[in-house]
């Protein structure tokens, strides 16, 4: 049973990585957005396999179902076309890809060996809704509330930025003069 879990885990991981690479390789914005949805869905599968079914469901509902719909909506509304493909510099290909691989290996090694965390066994995360609720509203109540205030401020900032600038009396005068 564990082996099946492991195979599925690796398969979802492969889908997530392939989707992320495809996201960068595609030139059309809507294909990139759809690749990102595939990444989100694959991540939800990983959470599910780790036993965090509530997080998996929220990942699909919020990221794949709401945020990405707004992405696709924006792309449709702007009618964004195919991006220009530039060849890029040779240095970025020769140094960038090995550097990125080296960096991610380094991060993985540090996290696994030196941070004192252990690898999580498949299906062992405390992910049922009750535990999540306890954690959010008891143990991590203050960070949770601060985050929600931050998001509220961000929303208000977006509303202020998007609203029309107030018409100044000077502007009205020039219009009358014309």
């Amino acid at each position: 049973m564990l082996n099946l879990h492991l195979i599925l885990f690796l398969a979802f991981g492969a889908v997530a990585v392939a989707g992320a690479v495809n996201l960068l390789a595609q030139t059309h914005p809507i294909n990139s957005a759809l690749s990102l949805i595939a990444v989100m869905a694959a991540l939800a599968g990983e959470y599910l396999l780790l036993g965090a079914e509530f997080v998996a469901a929220v990942q699909v509902i919020v990221y794949a179902g709401a945020i990405m719909v707004l992405f696709v909506f924006t792309i449709m509304l702007l009618n964004a076309g195919v991006e220009e493909r530039t060849q890029g510099s040779r240095v970025s290909v020769l140094l960038g890809i090995p550097g990125m691989l080296l960096g991610s290996i380094l991060v993985a090694w540090v996290v696994l060996r030196h941070s004192g965390t252990e690898a999580v066994a498949v299906g062992s995360l405390p992910g049922d809704p009750k535990t999540i609720g306890q954690m959010l509203f008891h143990e991590f109540l203050l960070p949770f509330e601060i985050t929600s205030v931050l998001i509220l401020i961000a929303i208000m900032g977006a509303v202020v930025l998007a609203s029309k600038p107030p018409s100044t009396p000077a502007a009205g005068l020039t219009r009358e003069a014309e």
Partner: protein
């Protein structure tokens, strides 16, 4: 239970549920044409079979044999994928709907449900939230102004009403304390004062049910919220460029979504398969499924009744109703339920 028996039971259940769902979709179309016909003082389908009962079969054959046109200016991969996305996600969500108690065959207890997931309700919400892409991508990939407008309207409408839909369900979740649809139905057994059933709608969730019904009508793009395919303004909205079976797949998706919404309303607010049980053992085994089907039929009839009665909203009215009326109402319902349960 041995693994092969489990697999066999799952395959049989999936086949039966899918068959029943597709038949129900076909006959909901027939029912709609018949009932709306009677409401408008005409007959509806009468020519194919008795009472026009074979009309869905004739329509299906017609859809299969019509020419499958692909307009030259479409973005082909998504144009082909969009109807598939719509119909796949519409049919998947039926998998977690329970439609009766467990039955015992040969010493094994088999639940009447394709798969019993302990977060069934969340799964349905997730699947329906992904189903939006079918409509949105169809509108975009058709490369047609009317289709694009339909797709834009659909995605904006569904994202807006999904919030009210989710919030209207939280009241029920607070009352039953579980995400499992089976547990939610179990929590609604029994009666008040011996005769009023202990369904959630009679248990303080009337406003929650109202919000759910309004949001569900908007989510399924049905009249009075069928703006994405408003034929007086947008030709046929997001499926203008589709023909033959691809068009039929959107049609199937819409009706399958209607049935899912009706199932969910029955399970969450109307006690699921709870109802009077009497008679010999075989009748006792079948009556819960009958009550479940009868309640779903009532909801489908309501859908058709509303379609025959109400005109379509304007788009600004739709948005104002969703954000300024339905969202505050469902939030208030949530707060009131939480206070009442905590008391």
């Amino acid at each position: 239970m041995p693994i092969w028996l489990y697999l066999l039971a799952s395959v049989i259940k999936s086949a039966v549920v899918l068959g029943v769902l597709l038949t129900a979709v076909a006959y909901t179309v027939w029912l709609e044409r018949k009932v709306v016909g009677r409401m408008q003082n005409r007959w509806g389908p009468t020519r194919v079979g008795p009472f026009g009962l074979l009309q869905p079969a004739a329509d299906g054959i017609k859809f299969l044999f019509k020419e499958d046109l692909t307009p030259p200016h479409v973005y082909k991969p998504l144009y082909i994928a969009a109807p598939m996305i719509a119909v796949i996600f519409a049919l998947t969500s039926i998998a977690v709907i329970p439609f009766g108690n467990a039955i015992t065959i040969g010493g094994y207890s088999i639940p009447l449900q394709v798969t019993d997931v302990n977060t069934g309700l969340l799964l349905i919400l997730g699947i329906t939230s992904i189903g939006v892409y079918g409509v949105a991508l169809a509108g975009w990939s058709s490369n047609n102004k009317y289709s694009l407008l339909g797709g834009l309207r659909a995605s904006a409408q569904m994202v807006s009403y999904e919030i009210s839909l989710g919030l209207s369900l939280v009241g029920v979740l607070i009352m039953s304390g579980s995400f499992s649809l089976r547990d939610i139905v179990m929590a609604q057994q029994g009666h008040f004062w011996g005769f009023i059933p202990r369904w959630n709608i009679f248990h303080g969730q009337f406003i929650g049910f109202f919000c759910y019904l309004m949001a569900a009508y908007a989510e399924t793009n049905r009249i009075p919220f069928d703006l994405p395919e408003a034929e007086t303004e947008l030709v046929a909205g997001y499926h203008t460029e589709y023909s033959a079976m691809k068009f039929a797949m959107f049609f199937m998706a819409e009706y399958a979504n209607m049935i899912t919404v009706a199932c969910l309303a029955t399970l969450l607010f109307f006690g699921g398969w709870n109802g009077p049980i009497f008679g010999p053992p075989i009748l006792q085994a079948l009556l819960p499924v009958f009550w479940f089907a009868a309640k779903i039929f009532a909801f489908l009839f309501l859908y058709i009744w509303v379609r025959g009665t109400l005109p379509r909203f304007r788009y600004d009215q739709l948005m104002a109703f969703g954000w300024k009326f339905l969202l505050p109402l469902s939030l208030m319902n949530l707060i009131a339920t939480a206070i009442a349960v905590a008391w």
